[in-house]
């Protein structure tokens, strides 16, 4: 532009662009030379330049209380209630203690052991893409829902989808269905937990952990090999295992 020295007003007007590095070299030089001769503008430039540096070095702040308990409570809430789940809750008075018969516990333990065995097999095979898909049988498929209300209402069978095609057009809904069902069962299981004895809870937790590991491993493997039908099958299998386990636990106290 021109080589005439800037006024303070011109300096102010160009300062924002200067700090954004948006001036051409001649303009920069003009601005810097004004700052070198004007105390007011030199101070302004120095102080404004210091602010982003200081802002970038701010320490993190700490909440005044532990925010986790409320979060834990909220993420345990069901996303969408399955038909039957609400009715099951209503029929369960909160004051009424739950007693598990030895027979029901034994049956539950047997199921849990079966789940552990097949999930462990699944986890071991994860990452080995040569294994044939579908080697893990669906364990413990839930019986069909009973219209008779004197019976336990049993949630509908898990959305068992073999989703191995490369295009996977309906994969989002499938994942959502899994997520929803798991969330719903999870909340039932959470209600149930206080009515179960510690050793049963420990077994459940252990199984859930194994299944969660398998899910995480399948997803990680899928990240590396997104088109592997086998891995999609693995993931769906693991999700189905989880649903089966949760469903089993959800039904435990009612099996008297």
């Amino acid at each position: 532009m021109t080589n005439r020295p800037l006024t303070c007003e011109q300096f102010d007007a160009a300062l924002s662009d200067y700090l954004e590095n948006a001036l051409d070299p001649a303009e920069r030089t003009a601005l810097e030379s004004h700052a070198s001769t004007c105390d007011r503008c030199r101070a302004l430039l120095a102080e404004l330049s210091a602010i982003p540096t200081e802002a970038g070095a701010l320490h993190d702040l700490e909440p005044s209380r532990d925010l986790w308990p409320a979060i834990a409570q909220r993420i345990a809430a069901p996303v969408v209630a399955l038909p039957g789940a609400a009715a099951r809750r209503e029929r369960r008075p909160s004051v009424r203690p739950w007693y598990l018969t030895p027979a029901s516990l034994a049956a539950a333990a047997a199921v849990l052991i079966a789940v552990t065995a097949s999930v462990t097999a699944l986890a071991i095979r994860t990452g080995r893409t040569s294994a044939p898909a579908g080697a893990v049988a669906a364990n413990n498929p839930a019986p069909a829902a009973q219209p008779n209300d004197s019976q336990i209402d049993i949630p509908a069978p898990a959305p068992r989808v073999t989703n191995a095609s490369a295009t996977r057009p309906n994969a989002v809904p499938v994942q959502e269905v899994y997520a929803r069902e798991i969330a719903e069962l999870d909340s039932i299981v959470r209600d149930q937990r206080s009515h179960l004895d510690t050793s049963t809870v420990t077994v459940i937790e252990k199984n859930l952990h194994i299944i969660n590991q398998a899910i995480a491993q399948s997803r990680a493997a899928l990240a590396r090999d997104p088109n592997s039908g086998f891995l999609h099958h693995q993931l769906n299998d693991a999700l189905n295992q989880k649903i089966s386990l949760l469903r089993t636990v959800a039904l435990l106290p009612a099996r008297t």
Binding site: L15, S16, L19, E20, L44, E47, L48, I51, P52, E54, A55, G56, L58, D60, L61, E62, P63, S64, R65, L67, W68, A70, I71, A72, R74, I75, A76, V79, R168, A171, V172, Q175, A179, I182, D186, L208, H209, N212, Q213, I215, A216, Q217, R219, A220, A221, L222, A223, R224, P226, H232, L235, K242
Partner: protein, 191 residues
């Protein structure tokens, strides 16, 4: 963006260790998610406080952000770092907060908001507990528009183009707000 697209087919968590806490949490492991929370809560809370200017509300927003993260985690594709993903999610939670918006509108009606920040640090403004106000306190007193841009740009390191998209303003508007924020902060820090 955080919104799930149809390409969010199956969650992909590319991680060196397949059973990282983030991956486990995405698979539904609440204990792993608590560890994720513990590792990130201060950072998320800081974003919320500085974005909304209210510590009490920021605690609630931090909780909202983690609940949202839990819900969205199965869709996290690992295209960005988890922390980047989480921080952006927290920013969006604050920006979509009705209570914050409501209070800002009330503030604007009282004439101490945005359009003209001249009187910002006027008679009623900064607490005089110290000779010099610290930057943290000065940020809290900025008008909302300038504060958001300042926090996103100078504290969180977003670019003007990103900020413009997040806030629904132009890139030039973002630059103008940033400059205004810095001028106001300088004024506050020098008084």
């Amino acid at each position: 963006m955080l919104t799930a697209t149809m390409e969010d087919v199956v969650t992909t968590i590319p991680s060196e260790e397949p059973t990282s806490d983030v991956a486990l949490a995405a698979a539904g492991d609440r204990q792993a998610f608590e560890r994720v929370y513990r590792a990130n809560v201060q950072r998320v809370f800081s974003i919320c406080v500085r974005m909304c200017g209210d510590r009490g509300r920021a605690e609630e927003l931090t909780q909202d952000a983690f609940v949202r993260a839990w819900e969205k985690l199965p869709l996290f594709r690992g295209e960005s770092a988890f922390s980047t993903w989480l921080h952006r999610l927290a920013v969006n939670v604050v920006l979509n907060d009705r209570k914050v918006l409501g209070r800002e509108r009330a503030r604007a009606a009282n004439g101490d908001d945005d359009e003209d920040g001249e009187a910002l640090y006027g008679a009623s403004a900064p607490p005089s507990h110290a000779d010099r106000m610290d930057l943290e306190a000065a940020i809290e007193l900025l008008p909302p528009g300038a504060r958001r841009v300042f926090v996103l740009h100078d504290v969180e390191g977003y670019r003007h183009e990103e900020i413009a998209e997040m806030l629904g303003v132009t890139s030039g508007g973002s630059k103008a707000q940033l400059h205004r924020a810095r001028l106001l902060l300088r004024e506050a820090l020098n008084r």
